[in-house]
């Protein structure tokens, strides 16, 4: 179930509607410090149901909504849509026969999130269920953020045990 495309709008530094495509099995993302690369990683985590602001480098959940710059005012809404290519038919359940799956999350300043599966409103747990058994849970090792490596290097024995238990 490859990633094929992501659309962001109002999410962190991606204030304008932006398309990112992932057309191959080896996609490199480059750019200078602070230009928004890690924000793309946060976006994938967020749209798949991340509920802890700390795991998105924020202190409150609405820290992901574009908060303005010297040339732009803040906005009131963040939206991220992720399109998966399911032509290999890896998903279970009702989506097993769909060639493309779209997952979307929208959040407003009051902190309220709405989730959509293939355009239809659903609950957060429906999003999590879609990914059950695919190795893409909230604490899976599919997303290795900047600083994860140092966290493993600095981990005390009980913390390292925790990492192993999480992966099981």
């Amino acid at each position: 179930m490859r990633l094929s495309r992501m659309r962001l709008s109002g999410f962190k530094s991606f204030v304008d509607p932006t398309d990112v495509t992932f057309p191959s099995a080896l996609v490199g993302i480059v750019g200078p410090n602070g230009c928004g690369k890690s924000n793309l990683i946060d976006a994938v985590r967020w749209v798949m149901g991340e509920s802890s602001a700390r795991h998105l480098r924020g202190q409150a959940m609405d820290d992901v909504i574009f908060s303005g710059s010297t040339t732009r005012k803040p906005v009131g809404l963040a939206s991220v849509e992720l399109l998966f290519d399911n032509s290999a038919g890896r998903l279970q359940g009702e989506f097993a026969r769909q060639a493309e799956i779209s997952v979307r999350r929208v959040m407003t300043r009051d902190g309220e999130s709405k989730y959509f599966l293939n355009g239809s409103r659903c609950r957060r747990r429906d999003i999590l269920d879609v990914f059950l058994g695919t190795g893409l849970g909230p604490r899976a090792y599919a997303i290795i953020e900047q600083g994860m490596i140092s966290r493993i290097v600095e981990a005390r024995p009980e913390e390292l045990r925790g990492f192993i238990e999480e992966a099981a």
Binding site: M1, R2, L3, K12, S13, V15, D16, T18, D19, V20, T21, F22, P23, S24, A25, L26, V27, G28, I29, V30, G31, P32, G34, C35, G36, K37, L40, I41, V44, G68, S69, T70, T71, R72, R90, T134, G135, L136, G137, A140, Y141, A142, I144, E145, Q146, M148, I149, S150, I152, V153, R156, P157, E159, L160, R161, F163, I164, E165, A167, A168
Partner: protein, 158 residues
């Protein structure tokens, strides 16, 4: 449960050891349980880069520590392999030789897994089939731009 953790631990240990030797081009490593109680014991990384003596992670160099952690991360990933894997600058502390072996492992895993990797490293950029540039010409506003290898190197300030 004890049995379940033991099983996971043994699987991770074997896969970690195998990936370590591939990433270092030699040497060996293993996970060590600190204590007898399988429900409580912590886990420690024992690591022996090629030509050196086995030791705990602390005495190793910055790059050696990072590469050892990458071996563990890939072993943990393999327990429950997702269809894609996103890596944010995991190659940052690695020198040329280590980056080369890291890229070889990613290229190999990419036969089953889609990799999306953020990097400032030119050699890792060469691994990509496609390079996506992120820019901030307007302050605080990110944009996406398709780039080739030369443009990528310039953009990243690598």
């Amino acid at each position: 449960t004890r049995g379940r953790f033991r099983e996971t631990f043994d699987t991770v240990n074997q896969r970690f050891a195998e990936r370590f030797t591939r990433l270092f081009g030699g040497g060996e490593a293993y996970l060590r349980l600190c204590g007898d109680d399988l429900l409580e014991a912590g886990v420690e990384l024992m690591s022996r880069p090629p030509g050196k003596r086995i030791s705990t992670l602390s005495l190793l160099s910055g790059g050696e520590k990072a590469l050892t952690a990458v071996a563990l991360v890939f072993a943990l990933f393999s327990l429950n392999p997702a269809p894609f894997c996103m890596l944010d600058e995991v190659d940052a502390p690695l020198d040329e030789a280590n980056v080369g072996r890291f890229c070889a492992m990613v290229a190999d895993m990419a036969q089953q897994v889609q990799f999306i990797f953020i990097t400032h490293n030119k050699a890792t950029m060469e691994l990509a089939s496609q390079l996506t540039g992120v820019t901030m010409r307007e302050p605080g506003v990110s944009r996406i731009v398709a780039v080739d290898l030369d443009e990528a190197v310039r953009l990243a300030g690598a």
